[in-house]
Symmetry: C2
Subunit: 358 residues, 2 copies
DNA sequence: ACGTTCTACTAAACCGGTTTGCTAAACCGG
DNA sequence: CCGGTTTAGCAAACCGGTTTAGTAGAACGT
């Protein structure tokens, strides 16, 4: 209140100084054609000599729109920005938003409350990333009359536009790839929720990928017992720890299905420390296809998902929901995944398993 | 205006429904102690049954603060989010902002105009990244009475709080390291401004690093002719291209000083394609120490800068500038850099240069 | 010369809240 | 039972703009 208003000139100051009404000043900025050319310029001159600029908040209030899009994440920004996946997604959203003249506000829990953050947020609509199931915030946003696009939320919220990725299919591709290389003994490395009880967020994605793995293995007559699935934090270190602890518990897989590239890379490191060659002794397949994966040694075989396009599509959906003021048919979009074979996967070692698949 | 207001209940609706004044409703939310306990709860009940939430913009207007911090970048968000450096920096800013209950707004040029974006931005202050020299926006912000913290702007803007990093010193360390390994023939790979004419932004950083390289080399009696400095886009591909083209032009350095890790990694790839072993035939040192550098083969020797802490410090400075409403002594902070020796640097190949340095 | 249209501008209402200043009733001590 | 304090709540002003509904005067047509 203070810093802001202390010296900042108001529209009334400009009006007085220029000897016109507030209305005239407003016109000079917003619809100059309603003023005589020289009055308009004179007003603008006075304004700029006073250092006046229309107060953006006041403007928002009267115009009823903020020209800002909210990017909603159930996790704290500290964890969100640690995730390269997120940066790429944001990039997609940002490109489209920017082009349409919208600014981007990151909305994450304020003092633990996502609801409070949503209430504070001055935006024209939300893109919600990884908000699963019946998060009450979604209903809250709907009641506020703001459009919201769900990303990676599975089939939840049919009444809102949504963008998803074929996680299940991607997982199936990864598993089938390893099966076709003759692998029969698998370890799945999964992403554990950042905070306990928070399973909602990534829960959907993790569940869908696991489902995909299971399906493909089942089709080959392979069962995946629970102790062949380990979880840890979605980081390089987390991936290392997962493989290391599984190894200690006596697991001796020839192939690893990791639900995140970071974890897969961690697993490569751990394997090396265990004296295993990748892929000669053990094959590792990741998920997401982050930039890093192309550059590690060996380059990571992984399931590519169009992360950036996901952001772009979500933003486009949101913009069109904002444009049509009536709620129109909610558009659900599902993007494809595909397998990228690089160097971290190879034939199952002979002697442990015969190279059999197909 | 429409979607927003159509069905959304206003404070007056709640007041009418509850049979009280607007004031009472406002009190029920903001200073319940001024109401009798049962009136307060009754009002809140009515409010929530109507699905009322105070309009955040109206609230901003009366309170004069937005509880939002702006992160100002002269580049488009699409290029900004492509940069891992930026994600880490944002993380630092976000952690501190979040803890203080502030949201984060990304402010980048709207239709090419940073000034317009700044005007639109409803924030309590700005952290400006890489805004060099006398960008007119800075003056504009100052006149609006908003605090701004400059990051990576060198000595420009002494009247504003600022956070910098010892780029020059870091560059010197990198060069000295290679000198001590006996290298005498250098190639510097620099970052070229994303858009021509935009040199302002990274210009400062690039200049300071180059200065550091030059100083260290000069101290060893080595001159760095202009054709031993090549520039390209700050990406892996850019780095590859730089080395490749320098090689074509007949340069045969034994050591490469790259101003960004991404470019250094690109240079490693290019070197390999040229049939050179790293570091046996050629040593490569990067700058920034991004996550990726630890994981490439060979692991990259680089100059570490505390990127995340940079973000944290900047945000803290901004918060304290917002808190004290009077402009107080602008705090300038300079963070240290340090050399991280990994596998991409080694003794100069014998025969080309004797291992000489000390 | 007179009614009509246009031009250039204004006063007041409005957006949706918060805050100030005030009042009526309840409470309280003597 | 009475003056003074406290409590609970209200009306109106305000934040800083935009927009609506007019109005005075000039230009225009006949």
């Amino acid at each position: 209140m203070r810093q802001e208003t202390r010296d900042r000139p108001r529209i009334a100051d400009v009006a007085r100084e220029a000897g016109v009404s507030k209305t005239a000043v407003s016109f000079a900025f917003n619809s100059p054609e309603r003023l005589s050319p020289d009055t308009a310029t004179r007003i603008r001159d006075v304004a700029s000599s006073l250092g006046y600029r229309p107060h953006p908040v006041a403007r928002m209030l009267t115009q009823g729109r903020t020209q800002t899009l909210g990017l909603l994440t159930p996790q704290a920004l500290s964890v969100v920005f640690a995730n390269p996946f997120f940066a790429t997604f944001s990039q997609g959203v940002a490109v489209v938003a920017e082009e349409a003249g919208y600014a981007l506000l990151f909305v994450s829990p304020v003092q633990g409350s996502l609801a409070r953050a949503v209430n504070r947020a001055t935006v024209d609509g939300f893109v919600a990333l990884g908000l699963a199931e019946d998060h009450p915030e979604v209903e809250q946003i709907r009641r506020a009359g703001l459009p919201i696009v769900m990303v990676d939320s599975g089939a939840a919220f049919p009444e809102h536009p949504a963008v998803d990725v074929d996680d299940e299919g991607g997982a199936r591709l990864a598993a089938e790839h390893l099966l076709s290389l003759g692998h029969r003994d698998f370890l799945v490395i999964g992403v554990e929720p950042p905070a306990p009880g928070d399973q909602a967020e990534s829960g959907g994605v993790v569940g869908r990928r696991l489902e995909g793995y299971r399906e493909a293995l089942a089709a080959a007559g392979i069962d995946l017992p629970d102790d062949h699935v380990v979880v840890g934090p979605a980081s390089v270190e987390g991936g290392s720890a997962c493989l290391a602890s599984a190894w200690e518990n006596g697991r001796r897989p020839t192939a690893i299905l990791a639900m995140s590239d970071a974890m897969a890379i961690g697993a490569i490191h751990a394997a090396r420390r265990l004296g295993l060659r990748v892929p000669a002794d053990i094959s590792i397949v990741g998920f997401d296809d982050i930039e890093l994966s192309r550059h590690v040694e060996p380059p990571l075989t992984t399931v590519h998902q169009p992360v950036r396009r996901k952001g772009e599509e979500a933003c486009r959906l949101l913009l069109s929901a904002i444009a049509r003021d009536s709620s129109f048919r909610p558009d659900h979009r599902r993007l494809e995944t595909r397998l990228i074979v690089r160097g971290s996967s190879g034939p199952a070692p002979i002697g442990k398993e015969v190279a059999g698949g197909r």
